[in-house]
Symmetry: C2
Subunit: 601 residues, 2 copies
């Protein structure tokens, strides 16, 4: 695995290279490696020369075939997410963190006395109010003595005062770009935004390059405590972001230097790792992170492929487990919602975060769901991107399975919404029982059994884009059930804490990296979401990214975002004694207590 | 020369590698080089295998001996300048650009909720008034969760607002350091300053590493227009500064990170090159530099070996040829002087700058003197450092020469003050005539003649530290005369411009990198300074460095410095038609018009 990494090939490694999963298996075609056979690989794989790359020691020059399943998703190519959000900028007068302004240069330059700086920047002199960074000073002679009679300067707002960060010849106010970026534990999603209109120009997403270092925030924090681990994690997420950036910039013919402001939203650990700040105390009593409200920084501070003086705004965190992704998500939700009254916001990701809010109060908590909803830890799982099965219908007791694929075409795997729908359909059809085990054999040969574990073929090899069966295993179903139980029990406990019941909730806003049509009926059927009436549910997609977008283009939304972080009350579920019992009770389909799900009766 | 530079060996090259001087001559001991013999080398040198390294092409592996005379002065080791300035901080309550403050951490860290940042920085929260850089954020976890119950934060003042740039465990307010640095065209001088007391801890100086690229600002500007030239010059001066810094820091056991503020003063071209800004337009009509009042920058912007967020203040320039060294020099002069009335300030360096000032007005000009006063372009010249002959007495018509050496011991060369005194003494004794030519043969064998050029042995090989004769040549004398003529005629023209005469001047303050006792009588005798009464003269040493020191430690002096730059009127001598005539008239000892020097009669 190290040799592959040195060669620039990044593998999936859910366990972080501990040897306890086999997602990093590769086929040795030539040469010698030393390794101990593992039960995690099938006899066929072992026969074909597969090894767990994290457990194999290279002993000669070798030739390796990397199966597509092992390739890091971040290397499989970047496929824009599908989500309608072009209404974000509607009705907003853009007031980004950066401004471009035209200044006349002709006159001043020819006048004797003074400097180019004094001539060009007479309206923006270095002063108590405006500072200049070095880059535009370096650019002055060429701009001042070139052919153009006007120049464009870019001014950014910082925590205190403003700063001139760029100077260009001519009027370039038409080219004014920023980026919004959601840093998820599993997935990084990014938007290139036209700051003049506030509208999205390009979107892209990829698995977080930190995936190889562990699947959830706790394993990332543990990894960060290794020698060089923190720096490694910082570089990995940065590489993911910069790759996505380069892709969208190249596509649009925009230079990194032209990105002059950026907003990031991520959970508290992701925020620390982006900044290269040790997240150790996020998970140690009394669970105070190093930073929650992060000062504005510069592009160069982080090593981003943007203007070195670009202003970087980080969505503020509330506590160790309610981060900037949630404050941004709440920002977008409040911007979006027309309904008043008590609302529940649920962001379903690797961590599940829940916020109950009234018009002037809000309280939040977090739970660890694991990355199943993002397609990780699922045998044929994948992100909600082109080729993902996002919807499923099961008939004939499991013998007939129909599905919809994002982007049409042949399927490559199952994304979160497809997985939920598949399990719900299998449950509804009696193919799986309340314990999540496959309960029948079927007649169509879809049900298979390997070493006491059963699986069902969703799409046979000849019908898939990978040429391999797309299956769901009992292990996948168990992973999904743990994830849904974590979310449901967190929801129940949060409401209990504020003295509310499920029925008090008038509206539920669901966020997460699902496919575009999460089927709430199915989500309720598997017990992920409370059974309080489907009409109350609304799916908002990646609200962290949408909130970051709002903050990028609007001053009033940046102010609101900070206000949300300041006013949110944070409940620590891990210190609530009842949580484990409620979690265990939710580890059935839909729940041990079926009376909680009356509509399913 | 390029091969040597790549190997890290820097040679003197007064002509900037054009082949027109022979200071870069080295001896080829083995191997083949291609080059054309040059008249600039003596037949003995050619016999011994010497070549001009800038003109020789390497054709095989070669072994080269680098004579001490060719070694770049910046490689010969750094010798602290000798100048008494410890009174600078006297009576000043330090108010530097940076402040260190102790904060209590114990309590906040144990309290649940919030972040380390909120706990530690409750008095300095990121806000409209205070920003934080990334470095102290990264330092937070270790400091907050360490054993110490208090921490020290460093806050710097920037153009707008303040910024927290550093956090340390415990109370480290006793360690608070800054640097002042004069960047001369020929010599860089630096002080390490204790910002608590305002006093100098260490001083060091060295030839500017740009020397190899030309001796004066004009040749530097020309060099900067070559491909890569600007970046090369920027890196060279940076290397000189960082070397000096490393030396003084190592000596005192201070870390680069502990240098949290710095003030630089240099002429306008040096200021541009330090910043990496193209100085091209300094010497093109209408002679407006890119910047004069430079915004505050960060250590990292320049690549200085100081704290990456250290605040960098540059002494403001007035115009293309009156720079930050002069405003700093005037600042120190006005701080120092007790006398009121019309004063003349003369900074004698590679450029000569003159300022005439009253109590509430000042007018300045500049002339190109060349680097002779700094020991460059003089066969046995050197800086005013240990081993330099700084005082000379000539007797017996040149047959007997006594001298004083800086630091005692055997002499290594002649510094500016020694050169002035030597020429004055030789003139007084009739050894040289009014045209600067050696007029007699002497009896002691001190006078020699090679190819129609005469020279005088000041110290014979057996009495020197180099084991070679220290001589003065007619060429050296001619260089000195050009330099003194430039200064004297600039002085005459400046006074004429403001309607004053020499006799209106009540006090003359002389600055420059001479030895500590510049003999004004001799300076007047050779016609460098006007003959207006020795009691009016005062030598202030490196006023640029002293002014930078004042600005480093005092807010009111920074304000005064900016006020000086704003209020100084600048006269451009190059556009004055009478200047060349006055210059030519001054190319004699002491002058063509001896009536201007009544005391010499």
């Amino acid at each position: 695995m190290e040799a592959l990494q040195q060669a620039g090939v990044w593998l999936e490694a859910e366990c972080g290279g501990q040897g306890t999963c086999a997602t990093c298996a590769v086929q040795i075609q030539d040469g010698r490696v030393l390794w101990q056979e593992s039960r995690l690989l099938s006899p066929e794989q072992i026969e074909e020369g597969y090894v767990q790359s994290c457990q194999a020691t290279v002993q000669s020059n070798i030739t390796v075939m990397i199966p597509e399943t092992a390739q890091s998703a971040s290397d499989r190519g970047y496929i824009p997410d599908i989500a309608a959000d072009e209404d974000i900028a509607l009705g907003l007068e853009p007031s980004p963190l950066s401004r471009k302004m035209v200044v006349q240069i002709e006159e001043g330059i020819l006048r004797k006395g003074g400097s180019d700086l004094q001539s060009i920047a007479r309206d923006f002199p270095p002063s108590q109010d405006i500072s200049w960074t070095l880059s535009p000073l370096k650019g002055l002679p060429k701009v001042a003595h070139g052919d153009a009679t006007e120049a464009t300067i870019t001014v950014v707002n910082q925590d205190c005062g403003r700063s001139v960060i760029r100077i260009e010849s001519g009027d370039t106010t038409g080219r004014h770009y920023g980026m919004a970026c959601d840093i998820g534990t599993t997935t990084v999603a990014l938007k290139l935004v036209d700051l003049n209109s506030g509208r999205t120009l390009e979107k892209a997403s990829a698995y977080n390059g930190q995936m190889e270092c562990g699947a959830d925030v706790i394993s990332r924090i543990i990894y960060s405590q290794k020698s060089g681990g923190l720096q490694d994690l910082h570089k990995r997420v940065l590489r993911t972001i910069n790759r996505l950036l380069n892709m969208v910039l190249t596509k649009r013919g925009i230079l990194p230097d032209e990105i002059v402001s950026a907003v990031f939203s991520g959970n508290t650990t992701m925020t620390h790792l982006l900044l290269g700040i040790n997240p150790k105390y996020v998970r140690e009593e009394p669970y105070n992170p190093a930073v929650t409200m992060v000062p504005m920084l510069a592009g160069n501070d982080l090593g981003l492929h943007v203007n070195r003086d670009a202003v970087i705004f980080l969505s503020p965190c509330v506590g160790s487990y309610v981060g900037g992704d949630i404050t941004a998500g709440v920002l977008y939700t409040r911007h979006h919602r027309s309904h008043r009254g008590v609302a529940l916001f649920i962001d379903i990701g690797t961590n599940g975060e829940l916020v109950v809010m009234g018009d002037d109060w809000m309280i939040g908590c977090a739970c660890s769901a694991g990355p199943a909803f993002e397609g990780v830890g699922i045998k044929c799982g994948m992100r909600a991107a082109t080729g993902a099965i996002e919807g499923v219908t099961v008939k004939d007791q499991g013998d007939k399975v129909d599905f919809q694929v994002i982007g049409g075409g042949k399927p490559r795997g199952l994304c979160g919404s497809g997985l939920i729908e598949l399990v719900a359909e299998l449950f509804k059809n009696g193919v799986i029982g309340r314990d999540g085990k496959i309960a029948m054999d079927g007649k169509a040969g879809r049900i298979r059994s390997v070493r006491n574990q059963r699986s069902l073929v969703v799409a046979a090899a000849e019908a898939t884009a990978t040429g391999k069966d797309i299956v769901i295993t009992e292990q996948d179903i168990a992973n999904l059930m743990r994830a849904k139980a974590a979310i449901y029990s967190a929801c129940a406990l949060l409401l209990k804490n504020v003295g509310l019941t499920m029925s008090d909730i008038e509206r539920v806003y669901v966020a997460g990296g699902f496919g575009s049509h999460l089927n709430f009926k199915n989500a309720v059927m598997i017990g992920l979401l409370p059974d309080i009436g489907l009409e109350k549910y609304e799916y908002l997609g990646n609200t962290s990214l949408s909130g970051a977008h709002l903050a990028l283009i609007s001053k009033s939304h940046r102010d609101k975002l900070l206000q949300i972080a300041r006013s949110m009350t944070y409940i620590d579920l891990s210190s609530e004694p009842g949580y484990m019992d409620m979690y265990t009770a939710a580890l059935f389909l839909p729940h041990t207590d079926v009376s909680l799900f009356p509509s399913l009766a």
